[in-house]
């Protein structure tokens, strides 16, 4: 199985301020890494999910995600935004954005990785470390250690 996240999939200084803009940027990184085959199709799946219920969470977190036929491997793209991007949370914009891409017919093994990623996101210490991570490699390192335990 491919890495859950690589340095190419980390953007510590997101330029956009709109939800669509930011998810678009991150989705193109996924496409560039070969994890997404059709950016527009994947974005449409993300929008559909976002319309059901916004994915913003209290504490400045956004987790746009979808299971999509256009995804080849379960992958995380991570973005950090100084100014914040509105993901519909009650207490304000999101500064940490986790774009989770899951293949449509993913087996249990795939889904288990994403499940343990989701569980880590709840931990304040994990969030704090992401806030202060100096560079993309540090983020990749952190995710590997916390989520995959290695």
């Amino acid at each position: 199985m491919a890495e859950l996240i690589t340095a190419d999939l980390v953007d510590l200084d997101l330029a956009g301020t709109e939800r669509a803009e930011v998810t678009g940027d991150l989705a193109r990184r996924l496409a560039g890494a070969g994890r997404v085959t059709d950016v527009d199709g994947f974005l449409a799946d993300l929008r559909r999910r976002e319309e059901q219920m916004p994915t913003g969470l209290e504490g400045g977190i956004g987790i746009p995600h979808a299971r999509s036929a256009h995804v080849t491997e379960p992958t995380l793209a991570f973005g950090r935004s100084e100014s914040g991007v509105d993901f519909g949370a009650a207490d304000g914009p999101a500064h940490l954005i986790f774009l989770i891409a899951a293949p449509e017919g993913g087996g249990d093994e795939h889904m288990t990785v994403l499940a343990s990623l989701a569980r880590r996101l709840v931990h304040e210490s994990f969030r704090q470390s992401l806030h202060t991570a100096p560079d993309a490699d540090a983020v990749v390192e952190l995710v590997r250690r916390e989520v995959l335990g290695r």
Binding site: R49, Q52, M53, T55, L57, E58, G59, I63, H65, A66, R67, I100, A102, G106, D108, M111, T112, L114, A115, S116, A118, R119, R120, L121, V122, H123
Partner: protein, 504 residues
């Protein structure tokens, strides 16, 4: 405190697990225990019946339907969206604590089985764990049905026995109609006239026999419940009612219960769209399962039973010329085979017909042979108590009175729980008694009433001796049979402990 929770969300890859983690962290921080079932894309170990039974409260953090929600019926419940659980897990846990505290009386709904169910296994949880070996699981399913049936046997049987004691053997004919010692009774059609026409004995008999009508439906319904949880009850009970209606007795009830449970288990495995999933346990599953079980019981089981009964009756009539004690033994075998089922009915009806034509020998053998199964089993629970569950030992205590009153149904709890060992044992015992009763030349002018109509028995002491002999034989055979099987049970238990839990 102990909690259980279910989390689920539309996509099933993020919120479901975040909510689970959040609840686990919050419960840990507050010093509680929690087990979370994540109904997401990665699957999860389902909560066990024991975890649910032990939980003080349930938390649903779900944005879509919780699967198998009926498992949690009767528990104090807190319901929220997944986001509420992620954003404020501590708040939800606090709310669950309050719900558990304020709902103490409601807890008894889930906990009421505990006093009667100190016996191990299905009675505690009410629902059988997946993961046991096949033999053990079938036995646990049967025991679940039996444990719910025993109160009906005890209450109904003892009421009928008291009715015979104070009203004499004719009370059955007075209430239900029919002939007794040459007098034709019409029976009591209106329940409101019952007390006036039949007295307190008639009322007790009616209540007792009404409880007995529920034996097979309850047995069948709760076998299905043990297998498939609440959705199994309706098809199981209906199948049991039909088993009674076609005269299939408790063996028919075992069949309908297992059948209903299997059909519901199958239907629960079907993957259905989320929109339909909500009405599956309440509407779709009971509807289809009840239809299937009902059809099978009426068409596939019912007709052959009627044909076999006719055939056996003709065959018995043809035997009348042979050795009388052999006929007595044969009738004993039949009386004990299904205890109120079709074979028993043929033998009993044969006895009634003999009595009507003035042959009191056969009636005496039939009644004596019908008394030994509960007596022999009651004796066995005293002689080797450790071979029986606590519920069985209690059924054994009632068995003395039921046996003495010629209420053969008192043996059904034992036979339903372990048919392959119990039925042959009681058959041998009853055959002994039937043959001896004829050989001793005992007679009975009464078609029922057991020990309470001893005044109508010819050679009463020899009659009691025949019953005592059959009782001892039944007990001895059963103890041997139980010992044969015990090794096998031990192996099954070991494999149950090591087997992986399966998703039901």
């Amino acid at each position: 405190m102990r909690f259980v929770a279910v989390t689920s969300c539309p996509t099933g890859i993020a919120h479901t697990y975040m909510a689970a983690e959040s609840l686990e962290q919050a419960a840990k921080a507050a010093g509680h225990e929690i087990a979370v079932e994540t109904q997401g894309a990665a699957g999860s170990a389902p909560l066990t019946a024991q975890q649910i039974a032990e939980a003080d409260a349930v938390v649903f953090a779900a944005d879509v339907d919780v699967r198998d929600r009926e498992r949690f019926a009767g528990k104090p419940t807190v319901t929220a969206g997944v986001k509420a659980a992620i954003n404020d897990g501590a708040g939800l846990i606090a709310e669950a604590s309050r719900a558990a505290e304020s709902a103490e009386p409601a807890e008894s709904v889930a906990g009421e089985e505990t006093p009667a169910g100190a016996a191990p296994g299905p009675e505690l949880a009410g629902k059988v764990e997946g993961g046991a070996g096949a033999g053990t699981r079938v036995r646990q399913w049967l025991m679940t049905g039996v444990s719910y049936m025993i109160p009906f046997v005890a209450a109904g049987g003892i009421l009928i026995a008291i009715a015979f004691m104070i009203g004499g053997a004719e009370i059955a004919a007075i209430v239900d109609g029919g002939e007794y010692r040459g007098v034709q009774y019409e029976g009591v059609a209106e329940l409101s006239d019952l007390f006036g026409q039949a007295g307190i004995a008639g009322v007790l008999f009616k209540i007792g026999s009404t409880a007995f009508e529920m034996l097979v439906p309850i047995l069948s319904g709760f076998i299905a419940f043990g297998m498939a949880d609440r959705p199994g009850i309706a098809p199981g009970v209906v199948g049991g009612l039909l088993a009674s209606a076609i005269g299939a007795g408790f063996l028919g009830g075992l069949v309908s219960g297992l059948l209903a449970g299997a059909v519901v288990m199958g239907l629960k495995r079907l993957r259905v769209p989320r929109g339909v999933a909500g009405v599956m346990p309440v509407v779709v599953i009971p509807l289809i399962a009840t239809l299937v079980v009902g059809l099978l019981m009426i068409v596939v089981v019912g007709e052959p039973i009627a044909a076999v009964q006719t055939g056996m009756t003709d065959w018995l009539s043809g035997l009348s010329g042979g050795a009388a004690w052999l006929l007595g033994g044969l009738l004993g075998l039949m009386m004990a085979f299904d205890m109120g089922g079709p074979v028993n009915k043929v033998a009993y009806t044969f006895g009634l017909a003999a009595l009507a034509s003035g042959d009191t020998l056969i009636m005496a053998a039939v009644m004596a042979a019908g008394m030994t199964p509960p007596l022999g089993l009651a004796l066995a629970t005293v002689v080797r108590a450790r071979l029986f569950t606590r519920a069985e030992r209690q059924a054994g205590q009632a068995g003395w009175l039921l046996g003495l009153s010629f209420i053969t149904e008192g043996a059904i709890p034992f036979a339903a729980a372990d048919p392959f060992r119990v039925i042959p044992s009681v058959m041998v015992g009853s055959a002994t008694t039937g043959a001896l009763a004829v050989a001793f030349g005992t007679t009975s002018l009464a078609p029922h009433g057991g020990i309470w109509v001893v005044g109508l028995i010819g050679s009463p002491l020899l009659y009691l001796l025949a019953i005592a002999a059959g009782t001892a034989v039944t007990c001895g055979c059963l103890l041997v049979a139980k010992n044969i099987g015990r090794n096998r049970t031990g192996t099954a238990t070991t494999s149950a402990a090591t087997a992986e839990p399966v998703t039901v």
